[in-house]
């Protein structure tokens, strides 16, 4: 049988349901102390004093680390060398780490941290995009000539869209444990990218001759939030562990997690679109602005993805996109599921709705008319030569949800008449997404991801990858791919714990790249390994290798003679190992200066339809149903695939109407779960998930990744549904009742409606 395409139980599920799975906070490390972080009291200023004496006087045992104690450079290497491990001379945002404390108990560490005196000469902070002028990243795309395009347009339509900070709210907060040894340092943590942290620690302890080992503990959700941020907390724990000469646990509580960790970049996207009378897009001029926060982190890559996706899944001959990310004195923003694409695609989908209303074309027709077909060219000049499913996902989701009929009915029944309704009004909205799978441009070529597969003499197959499972089901899916590559039973496969001492660098678990890239490498490796064992069996039997086949765990010759069981073959010829490296297909290149070329090896396509009601008495939104048709290339594990889509879609939809992090004077006001609102089971809608499988030719199984695309346009479909119900077009998210009220009152004022 083939495992790919079936839904076997995920290997980590058993320990997660019986309570034995060991997350980082669950690990008991004898003799471990606990860490706490001292943070800056103002968003911007010159640090004049960090006085630890009062803390030491009160508790003689504690260990304190400041920037002065760093053995090497005071920088977390991500993209630019601007992010200090511990701020020393200046602080760039509120709650920036300044010093670290370790003590035998968490309470003592916390008490000591509170006693450390910090004086900062406050300076006027830059807090909003309007005030910001320092550019931390920029990129742009020119395709055709926009001015020519606008000259051809019958209508020119403009629109602006804004979004704020967005909290990952993984249920397990950030945490790491650092364990010092003799010339070694081991860090175990809740993380997505063990080699990122490894790299950060090597850099941090440069020159100390310390051998670094990073292991991933069972990880309770990431969504990008445990991509680069664990470099920070991991570095902190490492410093404390070195200073105390004993293991140190640094486990954030929820409050500290929220104030201390990265968020989704706030955005402002401006559109100017030239449209022909029949609704054809002829020119797009787009400006994408991101608020990077105080440091660069991964901002250039987030911006790049935002820009490449900004023109949406639509063909258009003349496109100009300008992207800039600006520095503010707010905590740095970083990776979050979708990586910039949700901001720019949500803006684009709202612009499509604006165009449809102006031209009186319904949202589905307008999208079907303009959506990419095979052979179309993207703004980066990439020819979409295969696996383009925009029309298919639109049609499937629309048909399943009966979109057109409902939209037209609600539009005539409610919409402008919303104000006078007594009962909740229905609305339905549709949005289309595309998402480039894998790293942008030449990222994969530069990274050259590695993965290994081994057969032990006991007949076990070990998969060695640095790819992590933080809920998505990576281990299950990679095991399926290897089982098929080798032609063996899934039960034989063990996916090794991600541990930099044992697994090769398969790259980070981000960008929906794991199944497509790492899975591809593994499949090739598994096939090679299978051939190795088969060849050994053949040569022992003295027959040509091609005459030997493996079926039902036995090697047989072409004439059906039984040669050996898999176990026996493994015992005789093992252990065997194959390490494989990712190779980018020739001819597919991307120029990072001109932003022209093959931006991604393949694209996923998704259509979200959101159905909801809005209560005219309270402007509360009640989600009813979300229908998602998503082309994932190949659903390796349909149950997990659907789970990714449903979970991602709820995050996206809730980002559209519910989830808000208010940032005032550089401080997040929603700094605990009581105020940082994410949907409960009662807020969540029913889901209808349609998996579409149009394989990408670029990799063995054709999978295109499913991690991020569900996040891209759920918010746009939600805003469209709210508009369908109420006639209120929110241009910033989330569309909370408070924001909708402002729009309602503006509409009433415009009409001078005395009611």
């Amino acid at each position: 049988m083939t495992w790919v395409g079936s839904s076997p139980p995920r290997p980590d599920a058993r320990a997660k349901v019986d309570g034995t799975a060991q997350y980082v906070a669950d690990l008991s490390v004898p003799g471990a102390w606990h860490g706490w972080t001292v943070r800056s009291p103002v968003p911007r200023g010159r640090i004049t004093i960090i006085d630890v004496d009062p803390a030491r006087a009160a508790d003689g045992e504690i260990v304190v680390v400041t920037a002065a104690d760093l053995p090497g450079p005071n920088v977390l290497q991500v993209i630019k060398d601007d992010w200090p491990v511990l701020a020393d001379t200046r602080c760039g945002h509120l709650n920036e780490p300044l010093a670290l404390v370790a003590a035998p108990t968490r309470e003592r560490a916390r008490a000591a941290a509170a006693r450390i005196r910090v004086d900062v000469e406050a300076e006027t902070p830059v807090l909003t995009l309007d005030d910001a002028d320092v550019e931390l990243a920029s990129c742009s795309i020119d395709h055709g000539d926009v001015e020519t395009g606008f000259a051809l347009a019958d209508h020119v339509i403009e629109g602006t869209f804004e979004s704020g900070h967005h909290e990952h709210a993984y249920i397990e907060p950030q945490g790491v444990i650092a364990i010092p040894g003799d010339g070694t340092l081991e860090v175990i943590g809740s993380l997505q990218c063990p080699y990122y942290l490894h790299h950060a620690l090597v850099h941090l302890l440069d020159g100390t001759g310390t051998k670094i080992r990073v292991r991933q503990a069972v990880t309770g959700g990431g969504f990008g939030g445990k991509e680069e941020f664990p470099d920070m907390i991991g570095a902190h724990a490492a410093l404390l562990a070195r200073a105390c000469g004993r293991p140190v646990k640094l486990i954030y509580d929820r409050h500290e997690d929220i104030i201390g960790s990265t968020k989704r970049h706030p955005s402002r996207v401006r559109h100017r679109t030239g449209v022909a009378a029949d609704g054809t897009l002829v020119a797009q001029d787009i400006e994408v602005l991101l608020d990077a926060g105080a440091y660069v982190t991964l901002t250039p890559v987030v911006l790049s993805r935002a820009v490449i996706h900004a023109a949406g899944a639509y063909r258009c001959p003349h496109v100009r996109i300008r992207g800039r990310a600006l520095k503010t004195n707010t905590p740095p923003n970083g990776a979050f599921r979708g990586f910039g694409a949700p901001q720019s695609e949500t803006a684009m989908e709202r612009q499509m709705d604006r165009i449809g209303r102006q031209l009186d074309i319904d949202p589905l027709t307008l999208r079907l008319h303009n959506a990419y077909r095979e052979g179309d060219v993207t703004p980066t000049g990439q020819v979409l030569d295969a696996s383009v499913s925009a029309l298919e996902v639109l049609e499937k989701a629309a048909a399943k949800s009966d979109f057109s009929a409902k939209w037209a009915y609600y539009e005539s029944e409610y919409g402008a008449a919303f104000r006078t309704q007594w009962n909740p009004c229905n609305g339905i909205g549709i949005a289309l997404a595309w998402h480039g799978a894998g790293f942008t441009g030449d990222g994969e070529r530069r990274l050259a991801a590695k993965a290994a597969v081994e057969i032990t003499t006991a007949g076990r197959v070990r998969v060695l990858v640095a790819s992590t499972d933080f809920g998505q089901g990576t281990t299950a899916v990679l095991a399926q791919m290897v089982a098929d590559g080798l032609g063996v039973d899934l039960d034989r496969i063990d996916v090794a714990e991600p541990d930099t001492d044992h697994v090769p660098d398969s790259g980070p678990t981000v960008a929906s790249r794991t199944v497509m890239i790492v899975g591809g490498v593994l499949t090739r490796g598994a096939m090679k390994l299978g051939r190795k064992l088969r060849d050994a069996v053949a040569s022992a039997a003295g027959i040509p290798p091609d005459d030997v086949v493996l079926t039902d765990d036995r090697y047989r010759s072409a004439d059906g003679t039984d040669l050996s069981s898999f176990d026996d073959a493994a015992r005789r010829h093992g252990p065997l190992r194959v390490e494989e490296t990712h190779v980018t297909p020739a001819g597919k290149t991307f120029d990072e200066t001109t932003y022209q070329g093959t931006a991604y090896p393949a694209y996923g396509w998704a259509c979200n339809v959101v159905e909801l009601t809005v209560d005219p008495d309270t402007l509360e939104v009640d989600l009813e149903k979300v229908t998602v048709a998503c082309d994932v290339g190949r659903a390796i594990h349909p149950v997990l695939c659907a789970g990714q889509i449903e979970g991602g879609a709820l995050q996206a939809v809730a980002w559209g109407y519910l989830e808000e992090v208010k940032c005032q004077d550089g401080r997040y006001l929603n700094d605990r779960l009581q105020t940082c609102i994410i949907p409960t089971a009662r807020d969540a809608p029913d889901f209808e998930t349609i998996l579409v499988e149009n394989p990408a030719p670029s990799n063995p199984h054709g999978a295109k990744g499913v991690g991020e695309i569900p996040m891209d346009v759920g918010a746009a479909a939600t805003l469209a549904a709210i508009e369908n119900a109420t006639g209120l077009a929110a241009a910033s998210i989330p569309a909370t009742p408070e924001r909708l009220l402002t729009l309602l009152q503006e509409r009433d004022d415009a009409k001078e409606d005395p009611a």
Binding site: G19, G221, D617, L650, R672
Partner: protein, 452 residues
């Protein structure tokens, strides 16, 4: 100072030594090595720490160990028997109910309690669960990975257990040693802190070794008596107990409020007396109690006294309680048949939310007239308030004289709410008006339907 406790965890006795207010979560994880329950927030919001106390889900981060003694504690580790997974666990494995797993332990125990609950009052029978009921039961368990859909699928796919097994799971142990009221007052006078369901107290934080008086052990504070004239509710009655008591059917405004307090884990523990004593302007039961003309029986060093509930809240989080005084009973006049009740909470989300605005209205129809009108609101002032001008506008009016929009406008004119992290003054004021109009309109509609 620490004490010796014997906990009954997953059917086994576990002796421990702890401060009385040490969190059950820490005892389980650190003292007993049961790390299944997770800490996702430490303040009752996420449910990752949920365990069962006598078969009902609670947030173990909000339960002090002193209140866990003598109760049957079930953690996720206790669901499987030896090596055999509970069919619920099996379903989560096969139906995709587990992703990162951080929410899973709390969700599993809550779902187990939900599926085993055989009582039919307050909450509907759960033998054949439908989606809405599951959603309500899980409202206190946040999951960030699944969108809840695979979790619902897993629970629906779980076969029902035979009723005998469910009953066994819900067995209640004998109550702990009762504490005489007089002794409690003496201890309060000596500086002890009164604790009830601890859902506010543990969030605010309390020294684990602080001297306490456990109000749940005082007989005078428990039980509901449903008389012809008065419904007399013990201050230590939890919202779940109230919802499951027949009295709830007579006090619909309070019942609806109780149903909207937190999630299931909070309702299991949170008491009505605690809601009053905390005196949050957003407390959900408070407008209902105001609209129902409740009285409070207080007991202090000088003995008992009775005050109208309307005199209880004297300022922002201030009450009329004197030092050493407790709320003992909440006495609510038994509403005559036909009384109109209406309650509406506008929160930050559909469940487990703090109110942006909360309104309760109680009125008696006399012929085609509105009489005995009581409208009270929370989160629009520094304390829950009666909207007396609006009441006066409506009192005695017939359909022609009490226009819903006018009532809404009057309500708006009576308050000046504030901006905070949850909402804005504009929205609060607007929505108060809309909700009051809606209530008045609902009153007339209920009349129309009744007479028609």
């Amino acid at each position: 100072m620490t004490y010796a406790y014997t906990l009954k965890v997953n059917g086994r006795h576990a002796p421990i030594q702890a401060d009385p207010m040490r969190r059950l979560l820490d005892v389980l994880r650190e003292d007993l090595g049961l790390t299944g329950a997770k800490e996702g927030c430490g303040e009752g919001e996420c449910g990752a720490c949920a365990v069962l106390l006598d078969g009902e889900p609670v947030c173990s981060c909000l339960v002090p160990v002193t209140q866990a003694e003598g109760r049957a504690i079930t953690t996720v580790e206790g669901l499987a028997e030896d090596k055999d997974l509970d069919p619920l666990q099996e379903a989560f494995v096969t139906e995709g109910g587990v992703q990162c797993g951080a929410c899973t332990p709390g969700i599993l125990v809550t779902a187990r309690a939900f599926l085993d609950n055989t009582r039919d009052h307050g909450r509907p029978l759960r033998r054949d669960p439908d989606r809405d009921h599951i959603r309500e039961a899980l409202a206190g368990n946040l999951c960030r990975c699944t969108g809840y859909e695979p979790i619902l699928r897993s629970i629906i796919a779980t076969p029902a257990r035979p009723p005998e097994e469910c009953e066994r799971a819900a067995v209640v142990l004998p109550p702990v040693q009762p504490l005489p009221l007089a002794d409690a007052i003496t201890r309060l006078v000596n500086g002890a802190t009164p604790i009830a369901g601890c859902t506010d107290l543990m969030v605010q934080g309390i020294d684990p070794g602080a001297p306490i008086v456990d109000l749940l052990t005082i007989p005078e504070l428990s039980g509901i008596e449903c008389g012809d004239d008065v419904i007399d509710i013990g201050a230590a009655t939890t919202f779940t107990e109230f919802r499951e008591h027949p009295a709830a059917g007579a006090l619909l405004a309070l019942d609806d409020a109780a149903a909207m307090v937190g999630g299931w884990q909070i309702q299991t523990r949170a008491t009505i007396g605690g809601n009053i004593a905390t005196a949050s302007p957003a407390g959900d039961s408070l407008p209902a109690l105001l609209a129902l003309d409740a009285e409070l029986v207080l007991h202090g060093p000088d003995g008992p006294r009775t005050i109208p509930y309307a005199e209880m809240h004297t300022g922002y989080r201030q009450t009329a309680l004197r030092p050493g005084e407790l709320i003992v009973r909440i006495r609510v006049p038994h509403p005559p048949p036909g009384t109109f009740h209406c309650f509406r909470k506008v929160g930050t989300r559909a469940a487990q939310a703090i109110s942006k605005v909360v309104v309760a209205m109680v009125a008696r129809p006399e012929g085609r007239r509105l009489t005995h009108v009581r409208i009270a609101a929370g989160s629009v002032a520094d304390r829950p308030i009666r909207l007396r001008a609006t009441e006066a506008l409506l009192e005695g009016q017939g359909p022609g004289g009490a226009h819903p929009e006018a009532a809404g406008a009057a309500a708006r004119a009576e308050v000046s709410p504030i901006d905070d992290v949850r909402s804005t003054r504009e929205y609060r004021s607007w929505v108060l008006g809309r909700v009051v109009s809606w209530m008045v309109r609902s009153f007339w509609m209920s009349r129309t339907f009744r007479s028609g």
